[in-house]
């Protein structure tokens, strides 16, 4: 039995979340069962990934290629388990399990009815399954299909609250994401026309031979893929949909969208650029420079746009635009240190941004306040949530002992290796700007005292508006809180926040094995090994 599972583990990691997701609507009425199934599927996924990593790095040593249906490569579909896949799978499962824990028990307040809760979980698991697939797939068209599954799940998650604002944001997101998918599929079409292969390895060989005969087609393919995935992962000039979509979703959905979904598209782009087109073609078409420039622009502009936002979730969403820039900057450096730093930063940002969104969501739900200026003194009423928020903020800024520092350290090392000082300056300036938009929140939470007279009137109004808001958008009568009591959320939520904060600390204090994994992934991508 164990041997059977071990042999088919790459397939199981994908299909367990997917099939668990589609079965959930049947049990929509039994809330506990649904939640239990979700957490079980997530835990099984995490255990599976751990086992997968163990198998790959002890018994086999090289990439493990799993052939779906037993068909060999040019005809069949392959799943490749390499360092990159294992690294990203770890990030996905380790972050999505706490998010699933966080939703236990309180999701109904966020999205409405039981049926909607089940639908939310279905979309959540479909998203996790498709992200796992993106990490493993070694086939261009499969990647496209998984990207589409992820996109539709994301749109569903954005609109899961059912408010008109969310519907509008979801529609904008859907239109732009589908535009991006069309670009990607046409890019894949050009690769297929040029090489006749959809398998990544064979397409790469074909491109290496054919690109000099047809440079324009390859150029079109590379630019279509770049713009398509750039649009999906909110690379700076193409980020317009992100703030609305991520801030109008329910908090757990924001966490999974900002923390994981965006990263999945980046991993896809990474595989397309490095595995299919290859480093040589990237240099030939100066994709690396485009990525570095866009990354630097994203770091500065995203942070500057985050500064004036008073809505906490919108500020965090703009912060995602800025942080995505770091990762793209690392992708463009084409250096082992830089690429390893980018991958590490990707995982660390997944954990950090999820923590930020979840704790912000807990504060917003408990206090009924969305704006930073109204959050004065909330840290004393919700110490654990605010502590998690503070730890994650320090990690995002890049204080030593937290995970963001290690990622930035390697990014700076990578940019110095390439001999270009501008990225280094931008990375440090980005950290300063990051502190500028996150420290005011921390100061407001811990050190500011709410002004008494003004506070009362605002509280009353807020209660009123919160109740009105609840009455409008949450038809389930008994679930509506009659009075607003500001305190830490329940046990499952606390556990989730503690787990995520622990991930941030572990990545920051003992980064050794993870940075080794990222380095070996980078070496594989750059074909140094």
């Amino acid at each position: 039995m164990t041997a059977v599972i071990a042999d088919n583990l790459p397939a199981f990691v994908i299909i367990v979340p997917l099939f668990a997701g589609v079965v959930l609507p049947v049990f929509a009425r039994r809330q506990r069962l649904v939640e239990g199934l979700v957490v079980l599927a997530e835990a099984a996924g995490l255990a599976g990934v751990g086992f997968l990593a163990y198998i790959v790095f002890t018994h086999r040593g090289t990439d493990w290629v799993y052939q779906m249906g037993g068909w060999p490569a040019p005809w069949g579909i392959e799943l490749t388990v390499n360092s990159l896949a294992v690294f990203f799978l770890f990030a996905v499962m380790a972050v999505s399990l706490p998010i699933a824990l966080f939703t236990m028990g309180n999701l109904k307040d966020e999205v409405g009815s039981n049926k909607r809760t089940a639908r939310f979980y279905t979309l959540f698991l479909l998203l996790v399954g498709s992200l796992a697939g993106m990490a493993l797939a070694n086939d261009l068209f499969n990647t496209y299909v998984l990207v589409e599954v992820a996109t539709l799940s994301c749109c569903g998650l954005v609109s899961s609250r059912g408010t008109p604002r969310a519907a509008e944001a979801a529609f904008t997101y859907l239109v732009l994401a589908t535009l991006a998918s069309s670009l990607v599929v046409i890019g894949i079409g050009f690769i297929y026309v040029t090489t006749g292969h959809l398998n990544m390895g064979f397409a790469s060989q074909g491109l290496a031979q054919a690109w000099q005969d047809r440079p324009h087609v390859v150029w079109l393919a590379i630019s279509f893929v770049l713009v398509g995935f750039g649009l999906k992962s909110a690379l700076f000039p193409l980020h317009v949909w992100l703030p609305d979509a991520h801030s109008s979703a329910p908090s757990p959905a924001s966490a999974v969208l900002s923390g994981l979904a965006v990263k999945g598209y980046m991993i896809c782009l990474l595989k397309f650029l490095y595995v299919v087109f290859g480093p040589a073609l990237m240099k030939e078409f100066s994709v690396d420079r485009i990525l570095v420039l866009a990354g630097m622009a994203a770091i500065i502009c995203g942070a500057v746009m985050a500064l004036p936002q008073d809505d906490l979730k919108r500020r965090l969403a703009f912060s995602t635009v800025s942080q995505v820039g770091y990762i793209y900057l690392g992708f463009g450096l084409m250096d082992e240190n830089g690429l390893a730093g980018a991958l590490f930063y990707l995982a660390s940002h997944a954990a950090i941004k999820s923590t930020l969104f979840l704790s912000a969501g807990a504060m917003i739900a408990s206090a009924g306040k969305k704006k930073i200026s109204e959050m004065a003194g909330i840290g004393r009423k919700m110490p654990l949530t605010a502590a998690a928020f503070t730890a994650a903020s320090l990690g995002l800024i890049g204080i030593p002992m937290f995970s963001g520092f290690i990622g930035k350290w390697y990014l700076i090392a990578g940019s110095l290796d390439t001999g270009d000082f501008l990225p280094t300056v931008i990375i440090i300036a980005g950290s300063v700007l990051c502190a500028a938009y996150l420290f005011p929140v921390i100061r407001a939470m811990w050190f500011e005292t709410p002004q008494k007279a003004k506070q009362e009137s605002t509280v009353q109004q807020e209660c009123k508006t919160a109740v009105q808001h609840a009455a409008e958008h949450m038809p389930a009568g008994p679930g509506v809180p009659r009075e607003v009591r500001v305190k830490d959320p329940g046990a499952a939520q606390k556990l989730a926040l503690i787990l995520l904060t622990a991930v941030i600390f572990v990545l920051g204090v003992v980064p050794g094995p993870f940075i080794e994994l990222a380095r070996s992934a980078a070496a594989e991508l750059l074909m140094l090994r």
């Binding site: 749109c155 509008e168 979801a170 535009l179 069309s182 079409g189 959809l198």
Partner: protein, 133 residues
Amino acid sequence: MKTLLEKLIVNYPYFFAMVLFSIGVMTVLTRSNLFKKLLGINIMGSAGYILFIAAGNIRGGTDPILHQSDPGTVYVNPLPSALMLTGIVVSVSVTAFALSLIIRLYKEYGTTDARRIARMRNEVTKSDSSDRG
């Protein structure tokens, strides 16, 4: 040496695909009506289908169903068609989801024009904030 025009005539499906794609992108980006945006998405999708299916076509080939009696038959490549079936499934789901969102928005705002919806939404938020302030 073929002239550009000859190349274009021989590869006319690719040309049509690009024209369709441009029409689709223009519709999505310039029209403010949500339905027209949705139509633009579908037109873009069709461009992708044409590109793939034209790539799989072999002139003079027959449908790829195995006829055992005749071993010399030239078959059209079935893979792109199968892939595009998946693409169509995706496009159907996108269309259905977008339609349900449009219905939701229409019920709330009474219009399917993106600009008017944005204006109405801004007015609502403004009045909200003025109430609070």
